[in-house]
């Protein structure tokens, strides 16, 4: 590797023991200043190059730490690890915020898996949901003028020039309608939607060396599923539809809030909905909430998960930025860009997946045949069946547990990550494409519950067991 010496030096941990918080803030300020000057790269080659550069930097920083370990005392070891992790997180943050397109989703997903990556990186990645640098107001104004036909100052009673949240492909501004209704206006970066295809052409090229592998077809269909979901995500008219369906699903549920859409001020690229006041998960946790409150929110997160499945929907991007922890104890769901809809076939597979947790080997075999393309040979492979069995038991553990299950148990999450990593390492990942987003959301919700430290008895979550043979057919 022809590494630049300056890059290597920049990647090395600092020698001075600065307080971590100071270090982080200073770094972030510098990165934001830098980001403010950077253009959004729309050329696909540029994006590919940027991604390649990132992987080199991460590798360099890891090597540097490994070298230093040989010389560092035990006391400084931990500090250096922390700092290096933080620096890596910031670098990733920097790059992903810069890319802003499909690749940023990767960072957001990783942010929901605190045990897959060091905690500092997870925390930094989590900031992507709220702190990515905004487009300046003059650009926002022109995007809105194009989409809504008038300046924001004419359309809205008030419109905050600074974004209060950033999304992977847009940013969110607070505003007030002429009626006085406080709203959140999500605005997409101009032209960014079309770059997603370019991203996928690049990723396809990167994946080509795998095409001779036995899982190529499965990989390709999963890849196609990601592309399909991301294309949906950039179409706000689809999100409006999902918001409306979800409002219908949770109508009458006092503990769950889904914002109302204001269609007159929404288009494919602009989405105006009720502003939902409340805290993001990190802010909520910073208030040191009592265990009982954590448990109540945990139960609501699980209720949303089950209830949406019953309605043949999946809240498929359960990262913390998509929830609001409201003062009155309600849970706000604020982003419906990534919603999976199950077809009849997929819904049957989902039912099988739920039922497989009850421990019937025949159901497991049927699920593997229909959902993972397992052959007789696979079903008689002890290693494969053992690992699959382990994963199913892990998934069902909170359900089979008697009494409140402690989602904050680090060992539980670690075991989940371990079997998942082993499945990937052994390439037992062939499955129906629907399971990709299903697993992502399953891990995402468990990661959220872990961070929340919630203890929930699943039997207290008021959901009709639609998946059982005697369960009623959902809507």
């Amino acid at each position: 590797m022809n590494a630049d010496l300056n890059e290597l030096m920049a990647a090395l941990p600092h020698d001075t023991a600065e307080p971590l918080a100071e270090f982080s803030r200073e770094q972030l300020e510098r990165i934001f200043a830098d980001l403010a000057r950077r253009p959004v790269p729309t050329a696909s080659l540029h994006r590919l190059w940027t991604l390649g550069e990132l992987s080199v930097q991460v590798a360099l920083a890891s090597v540097a730490l490994w070298i230093r370990r040989g010389f560092a005392s035990a006391e400084t070891h931990q500090r250096q690890t922390l700092e290096t992790n933080l620096r890596l997180g910031l670098k990733i943050f920097h790059r992903l915020a810069y890319l802003r397109g499909a690749l940023m989703k990767l960072g957001q997903t990783a942010g929901s898996f605190p045990q897959l990556i060091p905690a500092q990186i997870a925390d930094t990645l989590d900031r992507l949901h709220f702190e990515a640098p905004p487009m300046h107001y003059s650009l926002i104004r022109e995007v809105l003028a194009g989409e809504l036909g008038a300046d924001p100052d004419d359309v809205f009673q008030t419109f905050e020039h600074q974004a209060f949240a950033a999304a992977s492909i847009g940013q969110v501004h607070r505003a007030t309608l002429k009626s006085g209704q406080p709203v959140a206006v999500k605005i997409q970066y101009p032209g960014i939607a079309r770059t997603i295809d370019a991203d996928f052409r690049n990723l396809s090229a990167l994946l080509q060396p795998l095409r001779l592998g036995k899982d190529w077809e499965s990989l390709q269909s999963q890849f196609e599923e990601i592309r399909r979901m991301l294309q949906q995500e950039v179409d706000y008219e689809r999100e409006i539809d999902s918001l409306r369906r979800a409002r219908a699903v949770f109508q009458g549920e006092e503990g769950i809030v889904v914002p109302e859409v204001h269609a007159a001020f929404s288009t494919r690229r602009v989405l105006t909905m009720d502003y939902i006041p409340g805290l993001h998960l990190p802010e909520f946790l910073a208030t040191r909430p009592p265990q009982e409150l954590r448990n109540r929110f945990g139960a609501k997160l699980l209720f949303v998960w089950y209830r949406m499945h019953a309605a043949r929907m999946n809240y498929a991007d359960p990262q913390s930025g998509n929830y609001r922890f409201m003062d009155d104890g309600r849970l706000g769901l604020i982003d419906f860009g990534c919603v999976q809809y199950f077809t009849d076939e997929e819904f049957e597979l989902l039912r099988l997946a739920y039922r497989s947790g009850e421990g019937d080997p025949a159901v497991v075999r049927e699920l593997l045949r229909r959902g993972c393309g397992a052959t007789d040979r696979d079903l008689s492979n002890e290693d494969y069946m053992g690992l699959i069995g382990e994963s199913i038991r892990w998934m069902a553990e909170p359900v089979r547990h008697v009494g409140p299950f402690d989602y904050g148990d680090e060992q539980y999450l670690k075991r989940g990550v371990e079997w998942f990593a082993r499945l990937v390492a052994k390439r037992y990942v062939r499955s129906h494409p629907m399971f990709m987003y299903f697993h992502r959301s399953a891990f995402g919700v468990k990661a959220l519950l872990y961070r929340l430290g919630a203890q929930v008895d699943i039997r207290d979550v008021p959901v009709e067991p639609w998946w059982t043979s005697g369960g009623s057919q959902p809507s």
């Binding site: 403010a36 000057r37 253009p39 959004v40 729309t42 003059s138 650009l139 022109e142 032209g191």
Partner: protein, 209 residues
């Protein structure tokens, strides 16, 4: 026969209005000064009393169209904008003024502003270029960039500006969103050349110092 100043102004306006119509309908290349004179009901020679060339007619249309861009930009400015944002706002105000001429703008801009244009043609656009760059220097000054700038800096800016203008003229994306992104990128690139000194200072901060 002597004609009054009012009549001169009216003639000039009629020529411009007719020319704009013909450029749009017949296309830049097909519309000749003879066509314009005929449509404006004046003699061909009379037209040249007002405009020495087709390019100068187009330049006058552009100049009139962007005349309000400084006022438009100033009206919207809060003083808290970054350099890149100020430039973006100013340039886009100009584009908005030119929107009605988008159909023939690309060939007209090429004829008037191409570095390889004949001197007589380039002359037609000189005042537009000078006025625009003077405004850009004024914005730079507002952001504390007051030292004499090397000639290449403004040349770089002007090249970016013309490139984006040409792109915008042919941009078929919805609401010209691709041009918005391109302009944003280009101006960030340009503002980035001042990154080591004043780029982070807003107009507002500069004034309050």
């Amino acid at each position: 026969m002597r004609i009054t100043a009012e009549a001169k102004i009216a003639n000039r306006q009629r020529i411009l209005s007719v020319a704009a119509h013909l450029f749009q309908e017949q296309g830049w290349d097909s519309a000749t000064t003879r066509d314009i004179a005929t449509a404006a009901s004046i003699a061909n020679g009379t037209l040249f009393n007002y405009f020495p060339s087709k390019e100068s007619i187009a330049a006058a249309l552009i100049e009139d169209a962007v005349a309000c861009s400084w006022e438009d930009f100033s009206r919207r400015r809060t003083g808290r904008e970054s350099l890149a944002e100020d430039l973006f706002s100013y340039v886009w105000s100009g584009f908005k003024g030119l929107r009605q001429y988008r159909k023939f703008l690309a060939p007209a801009v090429e004829a008037i502003f191409s570095p390889l244009a004949q001197p007589s043609r380039a002359e037609a656009g000189a005042s537009i270029r000078i006025r625009h760059l003077e405004t850009v220097e004024r914005i730079l000054l507002d952001h504390g960039i007051s030292r004499p700038l090397p000639a290449f800096v403004l040349q770089l800016y002007w090249t970016l500006h013309l490139g984006v203008l040409a792109y915008w003229a042919a941009d078929e994306s919805p609401h010209q969103e691709d041009t918005l992104a391109l302009l944003d990128r280009s101006l960030n690139l340009f503002a980035g050349t001042f990154a080591n000194d004043n780029i982070g200072v807003t107009h507002h901060e500069r004034r309050s110092e």
